[in-house]
Symmetry: C2
Subunit: 639 residues, 2 copies
Amino acid sequence: MKEQRFLNITDVQVKDAFWSRLQDLVVSTVIPYQYEIMDDKVDGAEKSHALENFRIAAGESEGEFYGMVFQDSDVAKWLEAVAYSLAIRPDPELEAKADKFIETIGKAQQEDGYIDTYFIVKDPDHKWTDLHEAHELYCMGHMIEAAVAFKEALGKDSLLNIMRKAADLICDRFGKDKVRGYPGHQEIELALIRLYRVTGERKYLDTALYFLDERGTKPDLFVEESKTCPIKIFDMDPYNLKYAQTHLPVRDQDKAVGHSVRAGYMYTAMADMASEVDDEGLLEACRKLWDNIVNRQMYITGGVGATKHGESYSIDYELPNDLVYAETCASVSVAFFAKRMLELEVNGKYADILEKELYNGIISGMQSDGKRFFYSNPLEVVPGVSGVLPEYEHIDAERPGWYRCACCPPNVARLLTSLGTYIWGESEDTVYSHLFVGGKADFSVAGGVSVSCETDYPWEGDVTYRFETGVSKDFRFALRIPEWCYDYRISINGKEEEEYDLINGYAYLDRSWKDGDTVLLELAMEPTKMYANPKVRADIGQVAFMRGPVVYCFEQADNGEDLQELRALRDGKIGVHRQRLGGLGEYPILTVKGARLIDSGELYSDEPFDYEEVTLKAVPYYLWGNREKGGMRVWIGEL
Amino acid sequence: MKEQRFLNITDVQVKDAFWSRLQDLVVSTVIPYQYEIMDDKVDGAEKSHALENFRIAAGESEGEFYGMVFQDSDVAKWLEAVAYSLAIRPDPELEAKADKFIETIGKAQQEDGYIDTYFIVKDPDHKWTDLHEAHELYCMGHMIEAAVAFKEALGKDSLLNIMRKAADLICDRFGKDKVRGYPGHQEIELALIRLYRVTGERKYLDTALYFLDERGTKPDLFVEESKTCPIKIFDMDPYNLKYAQTHLPVRDQDKAVGHSVRAGYMYTAMADMASEVDDEGLLEACRKLWDNIVNRQMYITGGVGATKHGESYSIDYELPNDLVYAETCASVSVAFFAKRMLELEVNGKYADILEKELYNGIISGMQSDGKRFFYSNPLEVVPGVSGVLPEYEHIDAERPGWYRCACCPPNVARLLTSLGTYIWGESEDTVYSHLFVGGKADFSVAGGVSVSCETDYPWEGDVTYRFETGVSKDFRFALRIPEWCYDYRISINGKEEEEYDLINGYAYLDRSWKDGDTVLLELAMEPTKMYANPKVRADIGQVAFMRGPVVYCFEQADNGEDLQELRALRDGKIGVHRQRLGGLGEYPILTVKGARLIDSGELYSDEPFDYEEVTLKAVPYYLWGNREKGGMRVWIGEL
């Protein structure tokens, strides 16, 4: 029941001032750097051993397994990013390196299709005994995604053939009238659905559906398993049902709970499944979960999973800016979920959140040099508190290097390299522009149409589309009108167009398009003061600033120490100025008429503290922490 | 170098609407109840065994030691409270019970004076081997305080004779050219100074000074001790020097750090010592520590020790209202410190804080029935968060019963029963009224003077003093003028008096007083909106309310759910009305013109949320949690 589908990566070119730079950074720096990391060639970096584990399993090398039980997934996410990267920018040397490693994976794979180096190398007797903790289905899921990426992006079957064998093993093993099971960390579900789509093999879809359907049924699988499980990897509590979303059958879940990445991957699979099997119950659950995340549990930056305890969703409206977790990977998972929901139902509310994640909570994770990454993405950083006091130890005031649990960097890499698949969509008679990203796309609508796009978004609001249709063709062009934008104008071939349907956040231009037609969308990009719902106690009396989809923040580098002393004046004007930010380049920064309260020395006073008027400067949130180390706030007091 | 001394408990009668009720509660309920608790006679209460430990040590009973290593201190604090209680209200049955138990303590004491049931009963081979964790000096210190109380309040020597033997042992053991040592939990220092004052025995003072002087010198005692220590009680980190304030010599300490009760007891001893040995360096350190606590690290309620991690002082201005620890005992320790500073230097700033602690952060610890107690005293309680989410598990939304570590209830009991010793002071030529508490006091000034006081403070601002001088006598009467009070009037014998010196928060009325003279102090008791220092990030955009010394709070019982939606209107009037609060009696409550923001369903909006005007009701903070369970806030947003 998809209303539209996103284009394949091979049908899209990204050529965009904002995104191409980030893609280049991933292609030129992150991907090669991650290979070196995984190959233990980077001095001073945490030992990875991820490649060596496979080489040992393949008999190419001698040694012991080292790393997390899910170390294989780093390689998988890297390979997935490599596939997209090669589609963006061919690189024979990189491709050869990947192909060679895929051969190693093939050699490491066991006769029956099993592939997980932890168990092959370290603990061959205990395969499949600890679904709760052992991450086998998770790692194979990621490798299946990589295999699908190699097929979709490059048309290559080598990894696909390997991972079909693994998928066949999984399908043979688990299911009704077979072994009961589902993963401790969801991922295999969405991977099997992707594999089904690329192969047409129905059993992959059926097994994904089985995993979803079985989850949350009684008796609790992980409780049962723990009674006889011969291994303990993390000693997780099997009774903590919400952590891995096994507390209820998935169709009965209506609040996002537990580990945020597990949750996000599962919701993504649920939405994918709903579209494949026309399951209204599943779709309704997805709608409720979406609503709960977006309207109750999301930071203004798109961050989700508010608490470090279990890296989890918290309770409604509990969004502390300083204690925050908001893992980069969790924002990636919301982008996945948003994309699927947008396929099911064309509604700007999904694209708005997708855009919010992309321009804020996801790319905030990556340092401008592509070598350091945030795992948690705070909205308030306080020198002497963040990363120092016990409650705040998990908050980094600077992006650290790769962690031992290196989930976020490769997740950002595979998302950014696959950005092309998030921009454009089509249905039988409609071309959709979901995101405003420069480049070009080829559609099958009306026998074949190309659309190119030029824009300096998100810094400027003008977006120009140009159509290549050959002969004139009848189809609808659907343009997303972002919810944040109150004032916009659409022109066709230089003439303002006022005749169009505006449905659920999309303007539908229905006409006969001829070659060379242009559409200009002009979005007013006014800086905007934002208020949080009164139930969010963390933001009482404070305001945040956005311009277009970009959330801004106040850094010590621009505003001095003790940012908590700053106030935005209630009726103060907000200016926009292009300014160089250290070595980062030139960006529109916001200037806000504000005040700095004066510390009189009294801790409490029966009179409001005096203040001096100051001009506050706000910079795009995603850029924070790229200059000097210091405090940062997204929300500041209002006076 | 004392500027004045507080009166002994036997020279003061408390007869006060506010305090007599609380003293009665302690005398009639808390003290008998605690005895039953310690005697394991209360069904459903945590097992104490505190009395039985002594009986076993005394050979009166058989069994094993049970409880915390510092279980003896519960008995000591109870006995201290009993002594004061008997001075307030004689009770032959209670006195006999205490005397009998003192005999047991005497029997439990070892030949050499050693008295600590943990080691006598459980681990006799390891006495004195673990000063860091074993609390022997702490427990004996508390028992010395009890002994001093029996002497001062009742003139009884039985416990004093026992504890002098223990003190002699300590003085013989520790010191220069003897065994190096100081306690892991400070308490013995202030106890030995009290013992010195009541006995005149100089070595007690010298040993207290040794403990203070030795602390924080190199090599670190607890690090050294840990290398050979044969026992591990809590497995505390000996390198965490700040925790027990051993990071610096005490004279070099200028910021309150570490475990807040350890700190408070030490600062109290430092101030006491400064006054005994005329040590300007020690006094200067006390002044700096005082300033740091009061102007950087104190909640508006008087709460100190902001973090549960180590029950410790945090860093300057880090005063979260929801994550707060603010242990009741820590507020008690600040009251001790304040009293000593006020002896050293007559300055209203000390009495103001003493008063703040008494009317807020200390008595908030006790349920109106005297049987349940807060250990931590939050300023913001949120249903579903406080006591529920991991970071907030230590926050009780209702006062729990006695803990296994039952430090706070007996600390409140001994403070309230000894309240008489905090009200009045005298120097050679001056009578001081530090706190406005009804009753009577006998001074030695000018050959003997009595002053009685009548007041309905803190609910009303009129305080009437009446002098009994016999013949006319020349002396100064020093009246504290609280810092919160901008408008006050002093009348003598019904006629307004304007001729007086106002020095450091005290009005000095210097004249020849005749029998029957009256002084009326009229303090304006306007409700006041309070603002926090701009460096306190937890209170941005929020206000709190006080009237006189009493801090108010907003409870769900009066204001509905979701207190975070409430705003006080910036120019809204604040009313005062007497109102019955459930079964608690009638109190002046504040009505504040305010607003409740309306939840539109949007999580973030570019327009301020609508609101409806409401009347907010605030009740005295110390009474919170005595009616229905629900949310509470001291600070609320301002609009």
